[in-house]
């Protein structure tokens, strides 16, 4: 288990986060500059937090009160960098063996080579490898050093999208076999949804919400989580009575479940709008414009002249502009996301 509780200020930016990672893949989901990479660097010992405690299976790596700060070399933490950070002047063999101690075992090395499909590339230099091969070599190097914790910093963002899918599947298989605390940093909600069990939403250096990935995508409790999980429509709102809220920017009153206590904002995912209905939770279309995606139509509309734009996304197999633009949209009250202060 990895325990992290750290505080660190850099100029105006203040990182303040606390989380526990069991033997699972744990995601840090956040916009760029939100402090994800800084958190990983603190765990690895590359950066030093101002206050806090970091421990792995009860073994303290950093404790500001007890003045413990274990050197990164002794932390046994594997770090996969976005650009892989392979040593450019060393071959794949030398790269992988660099973390295997003074007398690297040749058989162990061969196992890593075959496990990561690097046969025949042992004597190649990183500049001769493709993006996918570099990623696999970096994974092999990291795991060959036998770490207790893995930190993956945007491991697929440097790859072409068709390659990234394949590499993601391979990585997923490796992580399932490995089963030790893994922190996965990404700004891709799809990657997080597919690879991780739990996720923390980080915004301006602070963790706003930690939940299972499924829960986070279905019922995000904060605006940050809603935005990070891909909710495109978010507006200010206030409560009218126990079961109604008003969203003035959208020009609508919405019927909502009775449970929420205070409401400051409302969110609706663009896929949850239905081009039908009338009465409660109905959005009449006043003006609109259409954007075409590869496999989707994105229709933005508003309900009044100065209203905020609301986005509807629909698969091309279900609707096309030739059918005519709907007169209005309806949303089920179960799909309405409510956010407190």
């Amino acid at each position: 288990m990895l325990e992290v509780r750290i505080k660190k200020s850099v100029g105006q930016f203040c990182l303040d986060c606390e989380f526990l990672v069991e033997n699972e893949v744990f995601a840090l989901l956040g916009a760029s500059g939100s402090g994800k990479s800084m958190t990983l660097k603190c765990i690895a010992g590359i950066e030093t937090p101002d206050y806090g405690r970091i421990a792995v299976d009860g073994h303290v790596l950093f404790d500001s009160e007890r003045k413990i700060n274990v050197a990164p070399q002794k932390r046994r933490i594997g770090y996969l960098f976005e650009d892989y950070a392979l040593f450019p002047h060393m071959t794949v063999r030398q790269n992988i063996m660099s973390g295997m101690g003074k007398r690297p075992d040749v058989n162990t090395f061969k196992q890593y080579i075959s496990r990561f499909f690097l046969q025949g590339l042992e004597e190649a230099y990183p500049r001769q490898l493709s993006g996918g091969q570099k990623q696999r070599a970096a994974m092999a190097r990291m795991l060959a050093a036998e770490p207790d914790v893995l930190l993956l910093d945007e491991p697929f963002s440097a790859l072409d999208s068709h390659l990234s899918w394949q590499i993601e599947q391979q990585t997923r298989a490796v992580l399932e076999e490995w089963r030790k605390p893994t922190v996965f940093v990404s700004h891709s909600r799809d990657e997080v949804f597919r690879l991780c069990e739990r996720a923390a939403c980080i915004h301006q250096g602070k963790i706003e919400e930690i939940a299972s990935v499924r829960e986070l995508f279905l019922h995000p409790a904060t605006k940050t989580a809603a935005v990070l999980t891909g909710c495109k429509n978010i507006a200010e709102a206030y409560r009218l009575d126990s079961s109604h809220i008003s969203a003035p920017e959208w020009g609508v009153t919405l019927l909502v479940p009775v449970t929420a206590i205070s409401v400051s904002a409302v969110g609706i995912r663009s896929h949850h709008l239905k081009p039908e209905g009338s009465g409660e939770n109905y959005f009449p279309v006043h003006t609109y414009h259409i954007l075409e995606d590869a496999f989707e139509w994105n229709l933005s509309f508003r309900t009044k002249e100065d209203g905020a734009w609301i986005q509807w996304s629909v698969s091309k197999t279900e609707w096309s502009p030739a059918e005519g633009v709907p007169e209005g949209f309806w949303v089920s009250q179960g799909d309405i996301l409510l956010f407190g202060e």
Partner: protein, 234 residues
């Protein structure tokens, strides 16, 4: 051709030997001091770095005669530091070959330091971080990862340092003087030969220096070309 060989026969090659010896020793000192200073400076806090970098680069921008003047003040037997050095350790830099090496080292040091620093600064810091998380000790990171990555910059710095040390004139003439067979370097020989109207000898040495400098520069450029695919990330 016969005449040229005859001319070379009667030539005194002492200046060449003195210059080469001085150049090699100065390069050795500058090499280690420059790399040491560069790797310390790169990690120093900003304010200290700005100040120390200016001090370390000073010998390059100062007129060599001015640098020689300060060295003379420092190492003169009549001043405290020079006196202590001489009486305690028997070290004398004024009017000696040691002075040649000292002057050449001081003047050529910034070239080594600047090149090494630029080379260290362009080493991808993620590579260093990755090495740390892999458990590689700091000294090994420096020698096995940082230095090889910075190799082209360090090599060109070394060649430039050697060329500069070999041709040092201003500071050397101030500190070590021009004693034939002892501190008389090639550059000082050229000046003396010219003053006494011996254009043949001055010309010979000037051409020798010119060819040497050209070979050095072409060598650096060739090395750069060979290493180009290494530097370009594909």
């Amino acid at each position: 051709m016969q005449e040229f060989i005859a001319f070379c026969r009667q030539l005194d090659f002492d200046p060449l030997l003195i210059s080469l010896k001085t150049g090699i020793w100065a390069t050795v000192f500058s090499f280690f001091l420059g790399i040491f200073a560069a790797c310390k400076i790169v990690r120093a806090p900003t304010k200290l770095r700005v100040f120390l970098d200016a001090i370390l680069t000073l010998p390059m921008v100062l007129p060599p005669t001015a640098a020689g003047f300060f060295l003379l003040l420092l190492f003169s037997r009549k001043r405290l530091f020079g006196a202590v050095l001489y009486e305690r350790f028997g070290i004398l830099a004024v009017q000696t070959w040691l002075g040649c090496v000292l002057a050449a080292t001081v003047i050529s040091f910034p070239l080594m330091y600047k090149n090494a620093k630029a080379a260290f600064e362009q080493v991808d810091e993620n590579i260093v971080y990755a090495a740390r998380t892999l458990g590689i000790p700091e000294w090994k990171i420096f020698f096995k990862i940082i230095v090889p990555s910075a190799k082209p910059g360090i090599l060109s710095g070394t060649v430039l340092t050697f060329a500069r040390a070999l041709g040092e004139y201003g500071a050397t003439s101030m500190l070590a003087g021009n004693i034939a067979g002892k501190t008389g370097t090639v550059s000082q020989k050229i000046a003396v030969a010219l003053q006494s109207g011996d254009y043949a000898e001055a010309g010979f040495w000037a051409c020798a220096v010119l060819i040497f400098a050209l070979v050095c520069m072409i060598g650096i450029n060739l090395f750069g070309e060979i290493n180009r695919p290494f530097r370009n990330k594909q």
